[in-house]
């Protein structure tokens, strides 16, 4: 049961990053590459139509995490208190940027909300990457100092940063050079994803140029990926053991690699949805590989006194999990149905859509 819930939540989170990820990416591209008002408008629309139904995946993942792994939820949410609240504020800025930009036809008004949408998308991508970096790196569970836990074994609190900015310090903060690298990887990945989405959904005048942008970002991403795998070995020398012990887990990194190398051929790809599929693989592969490298741990402990949090020592009782299994099946089926209906009815390029609004 724990395994089922772990997989389901990981799946919902991955879908969130694929769906809302293109909104973040769209925001990043919007910030740097959209110059003409017409492009800005249609690109904002490419995110604006769907951000709300995409964000529900985050809410759903949160709810399920709360139900299935309450100890993990409590530990991580209170431990990463400040970055999480900042993420909440960014989510608000992103949303109002999107919703309010076209409410008034005034240059100053639209440019403020464009910036709000773009900058908060960029920072959100960065923060989500940093969060993933923190999970992979692990935290000082129980806030151990001089060999003694200051808190219960599964609680901790991280400052935003520690003056050394090093993941190897005794009390690493949320932001250090390792998590920052993962954050940048997330920004680049989501920018690529946003670009493939814009190509898929709009006929913006920058679409041609975006192919080059995607290509260049892919090169950057390859370099960053190699680099991060090397430094990951320094931060956590056991990070690849899981793939040796359970060779079938290799499929996840493979997904990532297919996405990554596929995108190198972006200039040759004719169909816009192929580009989007490749960047989707990139995201799903990246997230699942990180989780697979830890499994069954979900938050490693960086000290030797308190044990890491796993899906087994943070889950609720079996009765609750099994009951929820039943309704979750029904729920998933319903959600898939809504999703298909929605995408069917709102398909095609945004510029051409006649939605009478």
């Amino acid at each position: 049961m724990e395994l089922f819930w772990f997989i389901l939540i990981a799946l919902v989170l991955a879908i969130f990053f694929v769906l809302d990820g293109y909104d973040f990416g769209t925001g990043i591209i919007h910030l740097f590459f959209a110059k003409k008002e017409k492009d800005k408008k249609v690109i904002a629309k490419a995110a604006g139509l769907f951000w709300d139904s995409n964000e529900v995946w985050l809410v759903a993942a949160g709810g399920m995490l709360f139900m299935a792994f309450p100890t993990f939820y409590a530990s991580v949410f209170s431990g990463f208190y400040l970055p999480l609240i900042i993420v909440l504020w960014l989510i608000i800025f992103r949303a109002i940027g999107l919703e309010f930009r076209s409410q008034f036809n005034n240059e100053m008004w639209t440019s403020i909300w464009d910036k709000s949408f773009g900058v908060s998308s960029l920072l959100l991508a960065l923060f989500f990457g940093i969060a993933l970096g923190n999970i992979v790196r692990g935290v000082n569970l129980g806030s151990v100092e001089n060999g003694k836990s200051l808190h219960e074994a599964h609680y901790f609190f991280l400052p935003l940063w520690d003056s050394s900015f090093s993941p190897l310090s005794e009390t690493p903060g949320v932001i250090d050079w390792f998590t920052l690298i993962i954050g940048i990887i997330a920004v680049v990945t989501l920018a690529i994803h946003g670009a493939t989405w814009i190509r898929l959904k709009t006929e913006a005048s920058i679409n041609k140029k975006l192919k080059t942008v995607i290509f260049n970002l892919t090169i950057v991403l390859i370099v960053l990926t190699v680099f991060s795998i090397i430094v990951w070995q320094i931060v956590n020398p056991n990070s690849l053991n899981n793939f040796v012990e359970r060779p079938y887990l290799i499929v996840f990194p493979l997904l990532y690699l297919i996405g990554l190398f596929g995108l190198l051929f972006i200039k040759k790809i004719k169909k816009d949805n192929h580009g989007f599929i490749l960047s989707t693989l990139l995201i799903i592969g990246g997230i699942t590989s990180s989780l697979a490298s830890l499994f069954p741990v979900i938050l490693p402990s960086t000290n030797t006194i308190n044990e890491s949090l796993t899906i087994y020592n943070t889950a609720t009782e079996n009765y609750g999990l099994s009951i929820a299994f039943n309704w979750a099946i029904v729920g998933v089926i319903l959600v898939v149905i809504y999703f298909i209906i929605q995408k069917r009815l709102l398909k095609g390029k945004i510029d051409k859509m006649d939605y009478g609004h």
Binding site: G63, M67, L82, W89, V332, Y338
Partner: protein
Amino acid sequence: MIFYDRLQFAFTITFHYIFPQLTMGLSLIIVFFKWKFLKTKIQKYNDAALFFMKIFAINFTMGVVTGIPMEFQFGTNWAKFSELTGGIIGQTLAMEGMFSFFLESSFLALFIFGEKLMGQKLHFLTGFLVFLGSWASGWFILATNAWMQHPVGYEILDNGKFVLENFSELFTNPWLLPAFLHNQFASVVTSAFVVASIGAFYILRNKYSEHGKLFLKTGVIFGLVSSLLVAFPTGDWNAKNVAKFQPASFAAMEGIFETEHAGAEIVLIGQPNMVEKKLDNKIAVPNILSFLTYQDWSRQIPGMDQFKKEELPDNIPALYYSYHIMVGLGTIFIGVMFLAAFQLWKRKLHTVKPLLWTIMFLVPFPYIANLTGWYVAELGRQPYLVYGLLKTSEGVSPTVSSGNTLFTLLGFVALYMLLGLLFLILVGKTIHQGPKPLKH
């Protein structure tokens, strides 16, 4: 210090609940307009549905962005509470995401963008599904809250964790149905006032007055029916539940300091004096409270003197005033809506200016009644998070310092001020533009 955590939760939920109370009620009225249009094919009804859809959409966005912090805060500020009870209230919260938020948000996008793509019948259906989603959301959140007010179906393990023992009891909780119905009708009151007052505004300004009359009429009818239902049977039913399951809160909210020998009086006016433990300037009617609560004129009702100090809510004046404000406003709403309905029946309402002005200026008050109602529920639950079982002070995050909470609280205050301002500007603009048939 736990004080800031409580203040932050209270502030953010108060702000959040400004929006869902309108979306829940308004979705019902939009569905009504759309249904009338399907039946009569009179364009006016469709205009009304589309106009209120715009207001709904702005409101919905605000509900979503302020709702996400609510869910996160369980983990960030109330970690111990989440750890101990997540196995139970996590069920209802996760179901809310699965069964209502997905439904609501998927079909809202279609309702807003899809009229041309889908045709009228399907458009009505998507509107109906949005309504269903938002009411389901209310149902699940109230199931969560009902469990905190009156815990059922649980088992406490040796390590202090609450785990689920009986799933269906979460939804057959005797606290749930009355609270849900009362809350939903109260949200219809809010939206009825909003609809009626926009109508009154258009009539008084003599602009869009044809639409104005329709809004006014619809608002008044919905308003009268829902105001009545809020008071009776649902308000009464809730009060009986509080008397039964939370007697200490009941004594505090009714302002009964001393137990009387026989029937308890009902307090209409009076200020709690916490030093002398009595009500100043009291006006009360003997025996009525006993009758209302137990249909027995002489039934004894325990006063606050019967409870230990640690069992009583920690802010009795706020609780008492909140309750009396809610009930007082409820009575006023019934009165005003009754007068308006009478004039409507005589077909004169749109000419009775003082009544139109009254309706227009009453708009903030249903919001106040709804929020004070929630203060009654939440302050009355104190000093417990889970009534009788888990103290509020035991639920807070062990590692988050009060400096950090104060910082985030100030951040939320600043951000929400900005949000509130933008919200008012946009709603104002929408009302100003008025309902126009879309040109397509």
